[in-house]
């Protein structure tokens, strides 16, 4: 059952992105920035948490889920560290993703050659 929910929720989030791309011709970078920021804001408003509880990976795998982790991490760190937590929480919660992106991105860029554009 959680696979069906993940499929449906993840699919719907991607359709929202597709509609934005089709109708406005936004570049992927713009879309990704919008989705991360959107994830942070929706989490702060308490809207994204129920979507994560329902959709599981369907809500955490799209880039809005990255925003969700950032916001959740900040809230938790503010509870634990007060004002300092504002700066500690976001990156702490997303450290694995950031480190993996940089390291694997670097590794792949070194090993592989760019494809010749036809």
């Amino acid at each position: 059952m959680d696979y069906i929910k993940a499929f449906a929720v993840g699919g719907i989030i991607c359709v929202i992105g597709q509609i934005l791309i089709s109708l406005t011709n936004m570049t992927p970078a713009r879309i990704l920035v919008m989705f991360v920021t959107g994830g942070v804001i929706l989490t702060a408003l308490g809207i994204y948490e129920p979507i994560v509880e329902f959709g599981g990976a369907g809500a955490t795998v799209p880039l809005t889920g990255f925003g969700y982790s950032l916001a959740q991490g900040v809230f938790k760190a503010v509870d634990e560290h007060g004002l300092l937590g504002i700066f500690i929480g976001g990156v702490t919660a997303t450290a694995a993703g950031i480190a993996a992106t940089i390291f694997f991105g670097y590794l792949v860029s070194i090993i592989f050659q760019p494809k010749v554009k036809k």
Binding site: I31, G89, P114
Partner: protein, 155 residues
């Protein structure tokens, strides 16, 4: 102008607007839905494996899933497979975290000829940079608001 003779001009614009983009957008959305859904289903499988087989904690499950998906996105980009998926899936392959990884690797690979420092090293952040700048900054603003609301006893 045969087309103008066949289609009355007044109807033509309405016809284009009604038929062409809509059916294109619709089929793009269907493809985005399926591929995006499939990537998230794969993510769910990785989550379940981390949670029930490896018995990791909740935070570790999220970290594990992100790392695997980012690795797969980067590897498939290097192999040239992800771009093929992307041509078919559109946003279905951009929005998931594998697409983030794909954008990061694509820009770094593209500028490899400029060297390992100002080429690969710098261009890794062409897409990752904006995402981190806006993601982290917005989380700090949100955290500050949360902190102030807590001070006022409202959160």
């Amino acid at each position: 102008m045969n087309i103008r003779e066949q289609l009355n001009i007044g109807n033509y614009n309405a016809y284009v607007k009604k038929e062409m983009p809509k059916s294109k957008v619709f089929s793009e959305c269907i493809r985005a839905f399926f591929v995006g859904g499939l990537i998230c289903t794969l993510g769910q499988a990785i989550r379940n494996f981390a949670q029930y087989t490896l018995e990791l904690s909740e935070n570790e499950v999220s970290a594990f899933t992100s790392i695997i998906l980012i690795f797969l996105g980067a590897l498939l980009t290097g192999l040239g497979v992800y771009d093929i998926i992307g041509n078919f899936a559109g946003a279905g392959s951009i929005i998931p975290i594998t697409g983030f990884s794909n954008s990061v690797v694509s820009s770094a690979l593209e500028f490899k000829a400029e060297g390992y420092i100002v080429g690969v090293g710098a261009k890794l952040f062409t897409v990752a940079g904006p995402v981190l700048v806006y993601g982290i900054s917005s989380s700090i603003v949100v955290g500050l608001i949360y902190y102030l609301l807590k001070l006022l006893g409202m959160a």
